[in-house]
Subunit: 83 residues, 2 copies
């Protein structure tokens, strides 16, 4: 379910969240929008390599793993020369 | 240091990363862009309530804490009725 565009009702961007697991390699970006005045809950919007935007459930464990994977991936790159 | 715009050289969006800690309340969004063909390292771009975009260092521990905070914040909301 793609996010509704911002002008629609300037509240939450996601009406529904996707349950299917997104394979990391088809992922272009993950946008975390913290709860705030504009929306009472945190929203996670994945940008796919197809250009599609998909709303994910911030509470599901695989989304947290995906976010962690993206941040940690940096570590497993080519071993940096030890100081 | 704001991200360079996409058309500039379609490689990495961040030339430099910000070291100052961003207070969570001034945060509107966090965008994680995994390393990929367009850029050899993961990029983290924070959108602030001022409208400013700031590049953060994905390897610094406070950025990981910030991301975790945003995802976990959902949990500390009003206790949902236990099923």
């Amino acid at each position: 379910m793609p996010p509704i565009n911002r002008e629609y009702n300037s509240h939450c961007r996601c009406l529904q969240v996707e349950s299917r697991i997104i394979p990391p390699d088809s992922l272009r970006s993950i946008k975390l929008v913290p709860e705030g005045p504009q929306c009472p809950h945190t929203e996670v919007i994945a940008g796919l390599s197809t250009g599609e935007k998909v709303c994910l459930n911030p509470q599901s464990s695989w989304v947290k793993k995906l976010v962690k994977f993206v941040l940690e991936k940096q570590m497993q790159g080519p071993a940096k020369a030890q100081a």
